[in-house]
Symmetry: C2
Subunit: 526 residues, 2 copies
């Protein structure tokens, strides 16, 4: 068993702080720089590779990062996790999202069942259900086929599945694998549900209600919203609703639903794209096989996380470099910049994944930590961002480490040569240019046109964004966040910080407030 | 004429740094806290008000902020700007976006014309064109009415108009003012254009090409993409394209377009939602009257910016508090959190507006500055964010100032009482709860359930998000960013930081690279 101690108690961390800083601009110059771009690559899975040549690390720093990985027992801790240890200390729960994608170690038995069998069974039940819907064996009250699936959920039940759907929608359409269009209702703002309901063909829509406990206020509110709208059109909600919930929730075995698929306590919302939470909506929208490919890609990436060598374990290396940037170099934020319009909402998902997991101030034993933990994550797709906030990234007063993502090929392969190059070539040329521009900068007599450089980035490069590479990409970031949690000695799997707001909101609605909260409530006419 | 000097040369700034910090948690407690929420309100325009009771300022600090405003001549500088001074020093240009919305001061003559007349004339030409499209007087090759408008542009030609369209789409549908659905093509990623083109009825679509110079590579590439797609369906592009461009561009008076509407050098991309760039697509999607209301709301807010008293000038106060947070309290980021699904893309627009304007390291004379400038801006709509990155905002190691936005009423007024309250009440209860939770925190024996509080926020409250309040909201942030630029002595109206990437990308496409850039290009198969 590896020790669980704070980062600042690690010998290698002390050494890391003493290690000479690397000058990125110098390192990336000339023929040595070219060689560095060829060498600083970690092959991942599903054809993806992680290139960190434009990060401010050198061989010396890497050596200490490897020491830190070893000393912190990162792969041993990962092994404990996938073998079913109680890693979520706060809530006293196992952490099993990887088990949806494949078995990485021993059988995990919990609640009296083999958990891998449990997840596979849900996948099979969903697959069967989706096939029946696609084949017109499960139909609406008039015997007609469904054409739309609407996910009702919030937080992890929304952002992840939504980002994954958007990532594959065009790909699936091209490959004739888009069986149903998907929509998402999440916000308690009534304009969200009303807006989505106005835009769909309700008579031919299936609604997937996602709530583990069956008590999430936003979600149940939106469900009632939907049911009322269906009734108004003379439709029977029971013929349009599916539940994704826990086996013990009031939504399970409930006549108000066509069927119910099960989740458990061992997969948190932000890690649930691989569970029935993502599986139901994605299997319905595309096919069960597409979802299986997505899981397969994630599993391939999970396997790479076992490697003790940082040059063979991109998630671990990415995590270590991130900790170096946060705790030694002192950077507060990280930008995620996919050069792929299909990944438009991927940064929003990573924002949740990372900030909700590691945006904490106490360690896994509930003791305050004296060092910085998870950074602020934000991002938009390139090339759009280039014409927007990149100004600050290039010339602002703070340094923002960047995570680029790029693919050699487009999804739709509809392209044109204009001024001698295809759009895909232009897209890729831009990301290459940005990496070098950020790192190397540019001298100019006019300080307004000067670029200091030394702005670090890495890039994940793939052939094409498809279900396999998308699954791998997601798993990379999940595992990176996990390894960082290990390094910071955090519990990355609870979220106590979201509780206070819920409690206070209930008090406002019960008109049980005084002082400032009462006046704010009055100003908002509650 | 007010002096243009650096922030750290201002006497009041030195005083500000010496002024005793305010303890927000104490200030917001008890009956004094309630009184503070009633008092710390600035009435804005269009029914909006700015409540800053949950900011870490007190009467002493406010007094010094007022001194700083006076010493920096913020309203005098604003007056210079709207009277046509060359505020954009780097590019030697006037800054006239406010003039699209109304005349705030003297006649502004440039390029031999009265610029207010010029902007009004374009609005009238667009209105006439839009009416003809809506009435079926301008039709497609088969004599049929258009039903969709697609904006082709990037950066400021995309984010602002897109955010405004999304903000008003549901509102317009409810009020039978949605004449055409709008779509947007921006990214050079070929999957963006192909995806949008797959999803629309091309035969009944008008495309608005936005490019000031007529040479923006992404935009022209996407235009060619669109034209080829139209030709493939046997459609004549000249019957489907409109240009928004400068009078001297190759797109003006060009037979390839149904018409061309003009922009000039005095309104930068990120400030162009009020110009023909926003005007054309929004007048077509909704009506010219809706766009006029939007301009009217912005103009009302612009008028409030003239007030020297910080308690009557929310944009100026917001700017000053932001500078206090950035330069005295040392906060690096700001979260924009609208409790309105319709404002889903508003934070992305503000991210561009703010970070591209003030993410700089040299003052307006091109000299390096020794203090922090524009912060990093990010955000997502509440309540969604509550189930996501709010964890870090509540319990993370860094303090992130927050800008909430809330409305007493929904846009669609389709609502239901569930568990004793409407969805709109739940939405408002949540934002009230968050403000107080962030500021006041919560003690707990378990450190994992403890909330330190003292996390500052302000809220803009309105009755309803409609064209007038949306215009006012946009103008507030534009003016806030302008005032901050004045305080930091920056040129908020150029964007030299986006140039380097363009130059390098061209070299990649011309295969004129060596070293690291060449290897990155190879890895991406360019």
């Amino acid at each position: 068993m590896s020790e669980w101690i704070n980062l600042d108690q690690r010998q290698a961390y002390k050494e890391l702080k003493e290690t000479k800083k690397a000058d990125l601009k110098t390192l990336l110059a000339g023929e040595n720089g070219a060689q560095r771009v060829r060498n600083y690559i970690v092959e991942m899975a599903a054809g993806l590779s992680y290139n960190f040549a434009a990060k401010a690390v050198d061989d010396n720093i890497l050596k200490v990062l490897q020491k830190l990985a070893d000393e912190a027992g990162l792969t041993e801790k990962y092994e404990e996790l996938y073998n079913g240890a109680m890693i979520n200390t706060g809530e006293k729960r196992l952490v099993l999202h990887q088990l949806c994608r494949g078995q990485l170690g021993k059988d995990v038995i919990a609640d009296g069942v083999n958990k891998r069998d449990f997840y596979v069974k849900q996948q099979e039940r969903i697959a069967e259900f989706a096939k029946k819907v696609h084949e017109g064996k499960i139909v609406n009250g008039n015997g007609e086929k469904f054409n739309t699936v609407v996910q009702i959920g919030i937080g992890g039940s929304d952002l992840g599945p939504r980002a994954m759907y958007i990532a594959l929608e065009n790909w699936a359409r091209k490959h004739s694998l888009l069986n149903m269009e998907a929509r998402f209702i999440s916000n308690v703002d009534p304009d969200d549900a009303a807006g989505v309901l106005n835009g769909i063909d309700k008579a031919h829509s299936i609604f997937v209600l996602v709530s583990k406990s069956g008590t999430t206020l936003e979600t149940l509110t939106n469900e009632t919203f939907v049911k009322e709208a269906l009734k108004k059109e003379g439709l029977d909600p029971a013929k349009h609703m599916v539940a994704v919930t826990s086996e013990t929730s009031p939504l399970a075995k409930n006549e108000g639903y066509l069927d119910a698929f099960f989740m458990d306590d061992y997969i948190g919302g932000r890690y649930s794209s691989s569970s029935a939470v993502g599986g139901c909506v994605l299997s319905l929208a595309f096919t069960p096989e597409v979802f299986a490919s997505f899981l397969n890609g994630a599993n391939q990436m999970d396997e790479t996380g076992k490697n003790k060598d940082i040059m063979k374990n991109a998630a671990m290396l990415d995590a270590l470099i991130g900790v170096y940037e946060r705790n030694v170099l002192g950077y507060e934020t990280t930008a995620v910049l996919p050069y792929s319009q299909a990944l438009a909402r991927f940064p929003a998902h990573l924002q949740q994944l990372d900030m909700e997991s590691n945006g904490k101030s106490v360690n896994r034993y509930g003791e305050a930590v004296d060092y910085k933990t998870g950074p602020i994550i934000f991002g938009e797709p390139g090339t759009n961002g280039q014409h927007s906030f990149y100004q600050l990234l290039h010339q602002g007063k703070d340094i923002v480490p960047m995570q680029f993502i790029g693919f050699r090929n487009s999804q739709l392969r509809t392209d044109l040569d204009i001024q001698g190059s295809s759009s895909q070539a232009k897209l890729c040329a831009n990301v290459a240019a940005q990496i070098v521009g950020f790192a190397c900068g540019k001298e100019d007599e006019n300080p307004n046109k000067r670029f200091d450089g030394n702005r670090p980035s890495s890039i994940i490069i793939g052939d094409e964004l498809d279900p396999v590479s998308l699954g791998a990409l997601l798993a990379h970031f999940e595992n990176k966040v996990m390894f960082q949690g290990f390094l910071w000695n955090l519990n990355s799997f609870d979220q106590e910080g979201v509780q206070l707001g819920k409690v206070l909101a209930k008090r406002v609605l019960a008109h049980d407030t005084d002082g400032a909260l009462k006046v704010y409530s009055d100003l908002l006419n509650i």
